[in-house]
Each structure stands twice: as C-alpha cells, then as structure tokens.
C-alpha cells in the first residue's frame, strides 16, 4: 500500500480511470467540477480509453449514460445539487431500466436560496428513485466505494445504478492521504463489464417498454427486491473488497465506541470524522457516547441499525437534510428501524448550506439529547428565534 496525498476529486477521477469505464458523460457543476475536469484530461492524455461525451446539461449527461450502458458499456457520471435535480426524471428512469450506472455525488445544498455549499439534500431528494446510495466518511471511502459500487451494480442478480455520495468541498476539495489501488488489483476485483443484456442487432430486444396497470406494480416490486438484495451484495463484495484491498466494507453501518455507549449519535458522510474526535474528547470526560455511521442509505439497513442501537439510552440523529414539514430523512428512517424499542430518538437538522459543524456542536447536541431536547434545527441565528 502506497499512500499518496491528493485532492479528493482527483483521487475520485483517478479511481474512475482504474474502473475502466468506456463512456463518461457529465456536465460541470460546483463542487463536482474537478472530477469531470480530471476525467476529461485523463481521457485527453490517453490514460483511459473512453469516450468522453461533453454534454449540454446534466439531463443529457445521464440520458447518454443510459444509452451507453444499454448498448453494453460501463459508464460513469458525476453531479450534485441542481444538476441532480435537473436530472431527476432520468435518475428514476435509469433505475427503472435497471442499468448499472455509477454516479458520483459531491453533495451540495439545493436552491433556493442558491447555495454552492455542502449538505446532503440533493442525494436525499432522490432517495425513492431506486438507486443504491453509499455515503463516504473520507476520500479513501469515496474512492473505494466507487470500485465497490461497480461490483455490486453489475451483479446480474442486482442490476441497479448507484450514487457514491461524498460531501461537496469538505471531501471533494480536501487534500489528504489516500491509497490509490493499483490497476492490477482493480482489474482483478472488477473484471471487464459483462452486460446482462444489451442493444445488439444480432440479438434484438425491446428495452424500456411501458407497463400497463397489469404489470407496473410487479416491475416496482422486482425493483424493490433488487434494491433490498443489494444490501447482502454490498456486504459480500465489501468483504471481498477487504480481502483484495485491505479495507473492509462488509458492514452497511459502522459503530464507533458504540458497544458500551449510553448515547448514540447517528450520522452519514464526512461529519462522522468530526463526531469521532468529539466522542474521544467526551469519553475522556467520562461520557459514554458512541457513533453509528450509516454508510448506506439505500437500501436502508433497518435491521442492522436496530441491532446496533438496541442497547443505548438515547439516540441523536444528525441530518444534513430536511423533509420540510416533517423531519430529517435519516431520523425518519432511524425511528422506523427502532420502532417499538422505546429509545428516545432526537433529530438535529444541521450543517445545511455549508454551515460548519465543530466538535463543540456535537458535544452540545449530546447534551441536548440527554436532556430530552431535540427535533430541531441546530445552531440557528438569533434573529430567527
């Protein structure tokens, strides 16, 4: 293992290169831009034998991925925020067509008001689309999850697209050490793309037909079953990934000092790092706090979550998103997973639109949760209170 230091976006672009997509189609948008620039120059320099389609919008980016994937190519795209929103119709369509597209999401807030900064509203907005959604804590996870996603998505028993979500700027623009795997290892793990079916004049099929009321329900059922099966596939290939690359991804939820924790924090993405540092400091003060890091939001690992949190007294969920008029998306899921347990579960909407979250914020939230105060936007300015 040779660690290198590089920007997250470049690490992701280099990792995508290692996965050997034959077609890349993407449209630049902050903070995803460095990834597509990186890939464009990788292709321009002849370091990857791929077609790079310079499309006129995100809508076309993912549409072109649908065509290329259906025609038998491994494909890649990346986007964020408004781009993902613009793609919305295609996002659902790609999943329903069961195409194993991998797309990087540099998580960013949604307009209005316009914000280029990080939260996770964009990918959460697409939670019902039938894509797998993985969330990276750091750039090592972001790149590993790209490789893992191809492996899972292309399994003929799965055939789904996947978002690999990493926090915009916080991960996409950070320079930090990563282990960029060797081409040989990635090739041995992934192998060449072996499409389940493809558009081929020698063996014609009709692809993407419409379903009448006699069939639509069944298509949705089978799609749902595939997303659910993905949980086991991620575990299986996550374990294999560990054997090949030395980093294990066989768990969809990962605990940190959770075994004896009285208060559990549940979070997704890069904030988990800050939470871990805060937990270490709280532990030093004698407070039994732990973290449950949700690596996978779709499929939602309800059983794993319930098991991991069964012993705690209080749960504080950190949501970098909000379903306006309801709660944060993660809290809603956690409450469903823990239904019947009687553990108080509090939701904290925080960090929206790039608001920085510090260790002291995490400590404050633990205090609030332990006092039974929650289900709130955390850290609001005085003038709105």
């Amino acid at each position: 293992m040779t660690m290198e230091i590089m920007e997250g976006s470049i690490a992701i672009a280099e990792t995508v290169r290692l996965c050997r997509p034959q077609v890349i189609s993407a449209y630049p948008i902050t903070p995803q831009t460095h990834i597509v620039e990186g890939l464009a120059s990788i292709v321009a320099d002849g370091r990857l034998d791929a077609e790079y389609i310079c499309v006129e919008s995100e809508f076309s980016a993912l549409s072109a991925c649908i065509g290329a994937s259906a025609a038998g190519s491994r494909v890649y795209s990346a986007t964020t925020s408004q781009g993902l929103a613009l793609m919305g119709e295609v996002v659902f369509n790609a999943a329903g067509m069961r195409l194993p597209i991998v797309m990087g999401i540099a998580n960013r807030a949604i307009s209005a008001p316009l914000s280029i900064w990080n939260d996770q509203q964009d990918s959460i907005m697409m939670r019902d689309s039938g894509w797998i959604q993985l969330y990276a804590e750091d750039n090592q996870e972001a790149i590993d999850m790209h490789i893992l996603a191809y492996k899972v998505c292309e399994d003929h028993n799965i055939l789904l697209p996947a978002f690999v979500c990493f926090d915009g700027f916080i991960l996409s623009h950070v320079y930090e050490p990563i282990d960029l795997p060797s081409q040989e290892l990635v090739d041995s793990f992934l192998g060449p793309f072996n499409p389940y079916q493809k558009l081929d004049a020698k063996d014609p099929i009709s692809f993407g037909m419409y379903a009448t009321p006699e069939y639509y329900l069944e298509f949705r059922y089978e799609h749902d079953q595939a997303v659910k099966r993905a949980a086991e596939a991620i575990k299986k290939y996550g374990k294999e990934f560990g054997e090949v690359f030395g980093r294990d991804y066989s768990e969809l939820v990962v605990g940190y000092k959770l075994e004896d924790a009285e208060t559990a924090i549940v979070a997704m993405g890069s904030i988990c790092g800050t939470v871990k540092d805060a937990i270490d400091e709280m532990r030093a003060e004698g407070k039994k706090v732990g973290l449950l890091n949700l690596r996978c939001f779709r499929p939602f690992p309800s059983t794993d979550v319930a098991k991991a949190l069964a012993h705690v007294n209080t749960i504080a969920v950190l949501d970098k998103n909000v379903s306006l008029g309801a709660k944060g998306a993660v809290a809603i899921e956690i409450k469903e997973a823990c239904y019947g347990s009687n553990i108080p579960i509090y939701d904290y909407i925080l960090g929206l639109g790039g608001r920085d979250v510090r260790k002291r914020d995490i400590k404050k939230i633990v205090e609030l949760a332990e006092k039974g105060e929650g289900d709130m936007f955390y850290g609001l300015r005085e003038e709105v209170l």
Partner: protein
C-alpha cells in the same frame, strides 16, 4: 494535532500554499490535510486556506478556529479580517509586510515573524506571488515541514523553470527566518 490558517486574497495562491505544505508534511511522514474555505470569492477578495498536521489519521472536518500558526499573505488584510482570531500562547504568526509589525493586536504569547515576501518574490520569481516564499518562512519558523520536502512538493507542482525560481524564493525566506534576518 497542529493547525495552520493561511490568510490571503483571491489569486495569491493561498490554496496552492496549503496544498503544497500538506504535501510536504505528508511526504516527510506525518498525516496532513489541506482545504480551502470554500467560497465564491473572486480575485482580490479575502480568502482562507487551512492545513492540519497530525501523527495520526486526521478525521476532523471543521474549519480551523484555533490555529497554531497563521500565514498572512497581505498585511492589508489585517484591517478587514481578524487574522489572529483563536490564536494562543506559543502560536506563530508569519506576516508578509515591509514593516516591522509593531502595532498589531497580537494575542499574548504569539510569536510574530514579519518578512517582506513581496520583495523576495519579485527578486527571485519576478512576480509578486508570495506563497512559496512564505512557505519557506513557515518551514523555518514552525519546523512542521522540511525545506527538502517543500522543494519536492514545489517541483511536483510547477514546471522546471518556475519550480526553480519558487524554490529559490522559499530557500531565501527559510534562511532569512533561520538567521533572524526578518
């Protein structure tokens, strides 16, 4: 963990400086992390960039509020921005200025190093781009990075000719700080 905050103006290469310092630190064997204060700032606007150094893997993702070190690329920033915010005893502030730095509202126990990096950069590189000069000063003042590692990072980033002049500027600033000629 030690933390560095770089204050500059858009276009002065603060982000590049953070990245090169992190690279130099990492190649010399410690974990490091560099990131900009993500924004929409245009050329000339005040910007910040951050670097963390640690013997262990760095997990913390928040911005830097209590830096051990600051680099100020442009002393006029001090009028608009509280560059010393969060600094405490033992901290080091490196400021690019022609003046001696008297009159700054330095927190107690913070060591001040002033250097005319613009003059050095103009003489060595021919451009008033001060980031590499200040990196040399930072290497000497903090000991977080070695001059060799800094040279390596600069060479990796720039074309040969540009790298040479930038290294010369960094070396000169390094020597100036080491010898107290600042």
């Amino acid at each position: 963990m030690r933390e560095l905050r770089i204050h500059g103006r858009g276009g002065q290469g603060s982000v590049t400086a953070a990245e090169l310092i992190a690279t130099a630190a990492f190649t010399a064997g410690v974990y490091s992390q560099a990131f900009p204060a993500f924004g929409v700032e245009r050329r000339g606007a005040p910007v910040q960039a951050f670097v963390r150094f640690s013997d262990e893997k760095i997990r913390l993702r928040s911005q830097i509020y209590e830096p051990d070190y600051i680099i100020v690329q442009d002393s006029t920033l001090i009028r608009d921005v509280n560059v010393f915010a969060g600094m405490s005893e033992g901290g080091i502030a490196i400021i690019n200025t022609e003046k001696d730095g008297a009159g700054y509202d330095l927190p107690k126990g913070v060591k001040l190093i002033t250097i005319d990096a613009t003059k050095v950069a103009l003489e060595e590189i021919g451009l008033p781009i001060t980031n590499t000069t200040l990196m040399g000063a930072f290497a000497a003042a903090s000991g977080e990075i070695t001059l060799e590692a800094l040279e390596g990072a600069i060479k990796e980033r720039f074309d040969a000719k540009l790298a040479d002049s930038n290294i010369a500027a960094a070396k000169r600033a390094y020597a100036m700080v080491k010898e107290g000629r600042v």
